[in-house]
């Protein structure tokens, strides 16, 4: 299985561990990821807030590049990039928008390059072969709260990802990996997303609610599929604790890292040391030396 890989900006820097762990599980699952050469930023939220055409042209540019890689489609790790690429594909069904984008790009993009989030790719593989066979480490002691956030599942007619109100892909993955799934109420509530920079107070409140609900529902860790969510839940967790006036101390892992752990990869290979909230205590519990 070969995919054109679109890492997105965050995986180049602040989410480097997401990239490392994604590549690690990709090789464990025989997914060949060919990075799209010279890909550029998808524009993220600021682009659609300020320039509609730019917010379509940037993803289209990347998708055209991806076509040249010659694969089954584009694999994306970041939920925000995923959303933007899907939005562009969706918008290309409108001939007027398609025309404008073609004018800007100097070539026609018809919106047909398939875009998949790594979670979808993993779940497709899971449907074909038993991922349990790859599990080496017993995770049955850890309670995991899967956090999906906004941009994977919404708007449903664009992303067409899973049940927008109660998605199950990560829940099922956690089960297959042998850990316990925590049912809680905020798995698709917004973490504050792009307001991270300009409106920290809002992020503290929204992300705080999510972490608190996960914690109160018994979660040892939260897993995410988006660098933006991760930065809000992990990087800002100390600020959130201050804001809420309580200790949360709840490690936030990428789902790829949890998979890697289950498959027996070392914390180093998964970049687990990079989180601000250290997962060490959890690792110890499953018998991993840190």
């Amino acid at each position: 299985m070969k995919y054109a890989f679109y890492p997105g900006c965050s995986l180049e820097s602040s989410a480097s561990e997401y990239r490392i762990s994604t590549e690690a599980i990709a090789s464990a699952l025989d997914i060949e990821l060919v990075e799209i050469p010279n890909w550029i930023c998808c524009g993220s939220t600021p682009a659609h807030m300020s320039h509609e055409l730019l917010s379509l042209t940037l993803p289209a540019y990347n998708l055209v590049l991806a076509m040249n890689v010659g694969t089954e489609g584009v694999a994306v790790s970041c939920a925000s990039c995923y959303n933007r690429l899907k939005q562009a594909n969706h918008a290309m069904q409108d001939p007027i928008k398609r025309g404008k984008v073609a004018e800007a790009l100097g070539e026609i993009y018809d919106g047909t390059v398939p875009v998949k989030h790594m979670l979808e790719i993993v779940s497709e593989i899971g449907a074909k072969r038993n991922l349990k066979d790859l599990v080496r480490v017993d995770l049955s002691d850890i309670k995991v709260a899967p956090y999906y956030g906004c941009l994977l599942v919404r708007p449903p007619d664009v992303t067409n990802f899973d049940d927008p109100e109660d998605p199950q892909i990560m829940d099922r993955l956690v089960e297959v990996l042998g850990a316990q799934v925590v049912k809680y109420n905020f798995k698709v509530e917004c973490c504050g997303a792009a307001l991270a920079f300009p409106q920290v107070e809002i992020v503290k409140k929204l992300s705080g609610q999510i972490l608190l609900d996960a914690k109160e529902s018994g979660a040892d860790i939260v897993i995410v599929a988006c660098p933006l969510c991760h930065s809000n839940l992990d990087l800002r967790q100390r600020d959130i604790e201050k804001y809420l006036g309580i200790d949360l101390e709840i490690p936030v892992l990428y789902f790829t890292q949890l998979m890697g752990l289950a498959f027996g990869l070392s914390p180093r290979e998964l970049g687990l040391e990079k989180h601000l909230i250290s997962p060490d205590s959890v690792l110890k519990r499953i018998g991993i030396k840190v």
Partner: protein, 184 residues
């Protein structure tokens, strides 16, 4: 409110044309507002924004804080019974507000957006170090998030070198064309 003195009688049509959404069919059920995670911080709830657009009350809506606080989380649009993509409407309002020089009720957000876009134009990809720097200087929050920098550096989560990609001149050209087309 004297309705026949609204600031812009064609405002509704303009917003509808640019967003591609039928704001007029909003029947003010309030489901968007009920679920908006940021609603508690907004000066107008999303349904009120829709209403003001319907009434053509342009000044009120383009100078509100809500359009800048909206996190584009799509919760509202996903549940709107009239299938209105509210974020697309918010996007149009944000753009109009900036373009027409309305003072932003939440000044950090447009600065954030502009810093991001500026950064993107220069490097093609987000150069986080430069971006954070620009944003902090422009917003006046000079030391914002500096407490996170040492840890991020030590964990190799912040790259101090700008990204390098081939064909950056072509990218700049495309962005320029985008801007020209948008002006038309």
């Amino acid at each position: 409110m004297v309705h026949n003195k609204i600031s812009s009688p064609s405002f509704l049509e303009e917003v509808e044309a640019e967003s591609g959404e039928k704001v007029r069919i909003c029947y003010q059920c309030g489901k968007c507002s009920a679920g908006c995670p940021v609603g508690y911080a907004m000066d107008l709830l999303p349904n009120q924004v829709m209403r003001l657009v319907q009434l053509g009350l342009k000044d009120e809506v383009l100078s509100c804080a809500t359009i800048w606080l909206c996190a584009s989380c799509e919760t509202c649009a996903t549940r709107c019974p009239r299938e209105i993509e509210i974020v697309k409407v918010m996007d149009v309002l944000r753009r109009r507000s900036s373009a027409e020089g309305y003072p932003s009720a939440v000044r950090e957000v447009p600065i954030f957006v502009n810093s991001f876009i500026g950064n993107l134009k220069r490097f093609g990809r987000l150069y986080e170090a430069a971006f954070v720097g620009t944003y902090n200087i422009l917003s006046g929050h000079l030391t914002k998030d500096f407490d996170k920098v040492p840890a991020m550096l030590s964990k190799h989560k912040l790259s101090l070198l700008p990204p390098r990609i081939k064909g950056i001149s072509r990218i700049r050209e495309i962005i320029k064309r985008v801007e020209e087309i948008e002006k038309k």
